[in-house]
Amino acid sequence: MNVFVNERKTEIPQGCTIEALLNLLESPLKGSAIAVNQSIVSRSQWSEYKLNDGDQISLFQAIAGG
């Protein structure tokens, strides 16, 4: 199935969790935040939270900035 990570279509396996997705994307868990369809998913739920087809996923990360 497909989800959209920061607008970008991404194919993921059925029942893929957020944690799995981040590993898939080789994205560090540390310093990241996730919102699925606008609502923030707390880090503690990443390992259980299963994504659905068509989910809009926003991935944020800490960056340099005054």
């Binding site: 560090p28 923030i40 944020f60 990360q61 800490a62 340099a64 900035g65 005054g66």
Partner: protein
């Protein structure tokens, strides 16, 4: 002696944290991450602010957190980019998740040219976020009445500006910073506009509890040396404040006895 003892214990307390250094810094505008880290180390800063951004899946930024945490710096995520309370609250919650800290530099600036903070939206966001358990350090105009509102709203400190962000113009709001410092019951951290160590020293001499400096370090010819210079200046200004500066006088006061020589001959 007394003075040295005094300085040993001259810790700045904000919420649950205690700071030996009164120089807060930012991670923006450095040429590269290595320079940034060397400069932040040289500054001896214990609180460093950073932004949050949607990841660009094509080309990802490198991870800045690890080295900062490794250097024992406390993280102060900011909401830069937020143009109103709603965006700021959303950014704050994301930041808390991303950095696993409830500390927050709340900044809301609708105007992209001068990046001046919005008093109305900032207070609105502060009220919501305070109830949500955030330790809020709001970036605000040097408006004494607004600062008292933010104090009542439960902010942990206030961060009034000296001049527009990145302008390096110094303490253009001096007359109002003095009032804010006089009236505040929470720490006052002068933010934005501090362009040189003498500006930072002046803020501390006035009784500010700390200063936040970023641009002036990052864009210096030698950021590492400049950060060291800021560290010394902040110490100098704080120490002068504690040691008790004398006031200004309008005439001259001889520092040598005036003795007439020829008559003396």
């Amino acid at each position: 002696m007394i003075n040295n003892l005094k300085n040993i214990h001259d810790q700045l307390i904000i919420a649950d944290k205690s700071f030996s250094s009164r120089l807060f810094t930012g991670t923006g505008k450095f040429n590269d991450q290595q320079t940034m880290l060397a400069a932040l180390k040289a500054s001896r800063s214990e609180l460093v602010t950073m932004a949050l951004k949607r990841v660009d899946m094509q080309n990802k930024d490198d991870d800045i957190l690890a080295p900062l945490i490794k250097n024992g710096m406390n993280l102060l995520p900011n909401t830069s980019g937020a143009r109103n309370a709603k965006e700021a609250i959303y950014a704050a919650q994301l930041a808390r998740e991303a950095l696993q800290t409830n500390w927050l530099k709340l900044e809301i600036h609708p105007d992209p040219k001068y990046l001046l903070p919005d008093p109305i939206e900032t207070l609105k966001a502060a009220e919501v976020l305070a109830n949500d358990g955030f330790v809020i350090l709001p970036y605000v105009h040097a408006d004494p009445v607004l600062c008292k509102h933010l104090e009542s709203a439960g902010c942990a400190a206030v961060m009034p500006l000296g001049a527009p962000i990145g302008s390096n113009k110094g303490l253009k709001t001096l007359d109002f910073l003095e009032i804010i410092i006089e009236q505040a019951n929470i720490p006052v951290i002068v933010d934005a506009g501090i362009g040189s160590p003498s500006h930072a020293a002046l803020a501390m001499e006035m009784g500010a509890d700390a200063v936040l400096v970023n641009t002036a370090m990052a864009v210096a010819g030698d950021p590492v040396a400049m950060s060291e210079a800021f560290a010394k200046a902040v110490q100098a200004g704080r120490q002068a404040y504690l040691a008790g500066l004398a006031g200004q006088v309008n005439h001259a006061v001889a520092s040598s006895p005036l003795t007439a020589f020829l008559e003396a001959g």
